[in-house]
Symmetry: C2
Subunit: 324 residues, 2 copies
């Protein structure tokens, strides 16, 4: 079983067919960066059209068990998530509404301060806000997973502690492997994983040691070492694949509507666009390379299977439904 | 089994307990008169709160089978509907979105011309519009039932013909029993029922022969006669009960935001508010009276059971899911 727990591609039949070619069973796709509720609903609508147009290729995912059903039919299951809490605006009642529509992950922040928590690019991290505490409780109740990939350290550690259910860092790597601002320090990963949470390894070049030139071996050894440190069952993939997107999209991610000035995020004025993927992970077709690379580190078949998909499957099974 | 296919009460624990007292298993409740999409979502949210506050009394209904499940637990199932297409605004993609959120009936018009069809109070009825044809097709696809209770005759007959699945008049009575503008003529009822559709008998006094003074016998005999004419399996109850509502609510129904002048609808300047209910149907507690009244007309137990709930149950089972 192969699950990629974060993608934001420029969706097309080509991309869906490449998922199948790469043996991908399920993908958690971002459907909102800075969109408000109504705009996010338009994105749900756009996905409804994809499902209607390609019923033999893709199907909407609500529960882990949808993966079993779809696997039998040869379809890829698409789960939805938000990279920002903008879709719930200032209305806690929207948490259940977006869950009903299919959202399964929601970041509490995207780089900046939000109504709920502090983002990883702010100078000061004031932790989870008053509304943030209420929203985490409501997300726990309905089964919408807290994602802290783009959040600041204190906020992330507090979220892991406040949340009564496991949270996730869907797409980031360990800071001690590659000290990017978005990668996570030991105490952050520990807070998340020791509370049952998961870390999804990112393949976005700015998160990789050596960037585009990162080797498959270096990436897989980082996974193996991290699995050893925090538990093999706590690690998965969240590739952050942004295939076929024009650079205007990375600009939308970075500045949304919050600034009139350009912010280069993890890029720079000299390198403002999407960086090229490493040759061994061009797109969905290359998940087999990662599986091979993981085996080459000496991990067991069972550990490799967990990281390639079974760990996310179990996490989905335990965390997408209402609290029992 | 007792199903009331239309209510718009001022919801409270008292009303829910009265449903149970009256042996009501399921109710289709209106959650939008003139609300736009975002406002309708607030109404879904308000209902989520009711379900959270009274988990032992009520539960959200999506499918007919929810009634069986809830009956075993002693809960009343609440199904949602709109009396106007205002919640989908001018966006056909919202049809699937509101269905996912739980909407199961949508009127194409509420008294006035809409984007989709003509309402029963307009001078000229131009039938189903261009967008109306598209929306009916989409409603058919996802399983959102077309309701023509407040629509004009030609529009209703066209909707019954265009729709590839049965449609409903959820709450209205035969015009030849009581010639109110909102009650339906023979050719209209025939178009709906001959295409597999249903007529829900209303207990709103303006729809009753003699108004508030209508007798139980007159009401039940009208049902019996209508059942004989169009098929016993095509008739149910849609009481239009608006219990505990202030008169400001009937004004909202009648003028929404479309007029600065008051429109009295079925009332008058002398009688502008909600008329009092007949003594034999004060509220949900009195469904037993109707059942007794139907028996007294000489209908069989089987026919009575159909009208009191089984017919709507079958209709729900056949029409709330995606087209097969």
């Amino acid at each position: 079983m192969r699950i990629d727990n974060l993608q934001y591609c420029n969706w097309s039949e080509k991309v869906f067919r490449q998922m199948r070619e790469g043996g991908v069973d399920a993908v958690h796709v971002t459907i909102s960066y800075h969109e408000n509720f109504r705009e996010t609903v338009l994105n749900f609508e756009a996905w409804n059209r994809w499902f209607e147009h390609y019923p033999d290729l893709i199907t909407k995912g609500l529960w882990a068990s949808d993966i079993d059903r779809a696997k039998a039919d040869g379809k890829i299951v698409i789960f939805f998530g938000f990279q920002n809490p903008s879709p719930i605006e200032d209305d806690i009642g929207l948490v259940e509404i977006v869950h009903t529509l299919g959202a399964r992950f929601m970041q509490l922040t995207y780089n900046n301060q939000s109504l709920l928590a502090t983002g990883c690019y702010e100078d000061d991290d004031t932790g989870i806000t008053r509304m943030g505490r209420q929203v985490i409780k409501e997300m726990n109740r309905v089964g919408l997973v807290v994602d802290m990939s783009h959040s600041a350290d204190r906020s992330t550690i507090e979220a892991a502690d406040i949340s009564e259910r496991p949270i996730a860092i869907t797409h980031a790597n360990p800071h001690d492997w590659h000290p990017a601002l978005r990668n996570k320090r030991d105490d952050v990963i520990r807070a998340v994983t020791s509370n049952g949470g998961m870390l999804g390894f990112s393949l976005y070049p700015h998160h990789l040691r050596g960037g585009t030139n990162c080797t498959l071996q270096s990436f897989c050894e980082a996974i193996a070492r991290t699995a050893e440190q925090y538990g093999t069952d706590k690690i998965g993939i969240g590739s952050d694949l942004c295939q076929d997107q024009p650079d205007s999209v990375v600009e939308w991610m970075r500045v949304g509507r919050w600034s009139k000035e350009i912010d280069y995020g993890e890029g720079s004025a000299a390198n403002p666009g999407f960086p090229p993927q490493p040759g061994w992970f061009r797109d969905n077709r290359d998940f087999g390379n990662i599986e091979t690379g993981l085996r080459d580190t000496g991990m067991s078949e069972d550990e490799v299977a967990g990281i390639m998909g079974r760990n996310w499957y179990r996490f989905y099974a335990e965390n997408f439904g209402p609290a029992s």
